[in-house]
Amino acid sequence: MKLYNYCLIAFATLLSPAVLSSEINSGDTAWILTATALVLFMTLPGLALFYGGLVRTQNVLSVLMQCFAICCIVSVVWVIYGYSFAFTGNGPIIGGTDGLFLSSLARDASSGTLPESLFIVFQMTFAIITPALVVGAFAERMKFSAMCIFTILWVTLVYLPACHMVWGGGYLSSIGVIDFAGGLVVHATCGVGALVAAMMLGPRKGFPSGSLVPHNRPMVVMGAAMLWVGWFGFNGGSAVAADSSAAMAILVTHISAAVGALTWMIVEWIKTGKPTVVGIATGMVAGLATITPASGTVGPQGALLIGLLAGLICFYATQMIKGFFKIDDSLDVFPVHGVGGILGILMLAFVGKPNGFLGAGAAGFNPSVFEQFMIQLQGVVVICLWTLVFSWIALKITSLITNLRVSEESEYEGLDITEHNESGYSAS
């Protein structure tokens, strides 16, 4: 994303020397203000409701609470050192300390054509949703206090370096990895982090044979629909401008969501005999996660293919993780977000050339398809290994401070009452 900014700025400067990159553009500013609200809306209430509906009755509040608390914790982290480590300085892995406490932020400072304050809060919403997505892996069993500590450590050790490496001018952006809106930074990190968390915490009591089914499917559908709308800000906003790139990003995002949803529905229909509402909603999320990194470079035809493969591959990945590997990634964060994000990162090399395969409307890149694919693959390997190691470290440190899991009795009674002393649905 940053790389594209530089290219756009360089291009604009060549064409018209009068336009300075530091000039704040009101159109761009207006759109990113809107997109910021949309991306926050994805976490609260979108993702919170999506996850809240997928867990059992006795844990609905715990999941809403976790998403809410993560939003608040990450916001504070972002102001104190998050933005600084991610977006200032030129280190290959982590940024600098110039922006600590945002102490050097001037009221009228600019970042590209936006006020810097806007760029900071826009990026903050991405930092918020990423650890919130991980909640799906340890839902219904993680201690709230452990989750708070883990969130701070995980954002610090995983999200900030990943964000700096890919978007903040670090190592991966310098070798030319394309990740428009967060296939690596958001979805691969949350997916791999989810897998590590699910394995370290162990499965929920009753997994896999028990009746661990969603308690409120209408809530799932509401949350999923909010994610769909919010994603327009996520991908469209990642153009960091109100331009044709933003518009094309929204078009391809929508196409991939629709095709991903239909593909999942049809596969499920054939395999189990019924098309389910949780299935169509999950396919939609898979389509959205997969198009995310590619939404700045592919065209509508590429989006059709990406959506199709997203629905198909994420469906079977979900069966494999729970059915074959017996890992209780409870709300399927890795197979949907991790696999989707990585799939999109790799596929954009094949359908991102304007004159290439399904390339109508694509933005293109300079290296050949194969060269770009190898660059993308390098990005996947680096981010996945980094996330694997540092998610493990984050959980290990957390476990030295407090238990990761609640007691067996608390798990049976539900986290709502045992962790928060409230219940989602009172009888009287």
């Binding site: 089914v213 389910t276 299935g279 069966q319």
Partner: protein
């Protein structure tokens, strides 16, 4: 006096209630219940996987009656709740020692 308790399929409730009203039954209590019998539970789908739910939803109807009417009532329920498929439910009849109408304090048959 008898207490007739019938566990039936939920979709048969309206038919049973109508048949009982025609017979002259003036009151009954309905509860939504869960359980399992020879029909066992059912399966639910979640993201392509089938999960077994051990219980099925049923409706429990409770009717207080005089000894003389008990057979008529059970016959009507048996007929109106029957689908000839597994899971149609059961009827239990129990003896009742005393019945009291709270408003008036009437007891026995007068209170039914």
């Amino acid at each position: 006096m008898k207490l007739i308790t019938a566990i039936i399929k939920p979709f048969k409730l309206e038919e049973v209630r109508q048949a009982l009203t025609e017979l002259g039954v003036e009151g009954l209590t309905i509860t939504e219940v869960k359980g399992f019998g020879r029909q066992k539970g059912h399966t639910e789908l979640y993201r392509g996987a089938e999960y077994t739910i051990d219980t099925l939803p049923k409706i429990k109807i409770e009717i207080l009656t005089n000894d003389n009417d008990a057979t008529n009532i059970t016959n009507v329920i048996s007929k109106s709740a029957n689908t000839e498929k597994i899971g149609d439910g059961k009827i239990f009849i129990t003896n009742v020692d005393e019945v009291i109408r709270i408003r008036t304090g009437e007891t026995g048959s007068d209170a039914i």
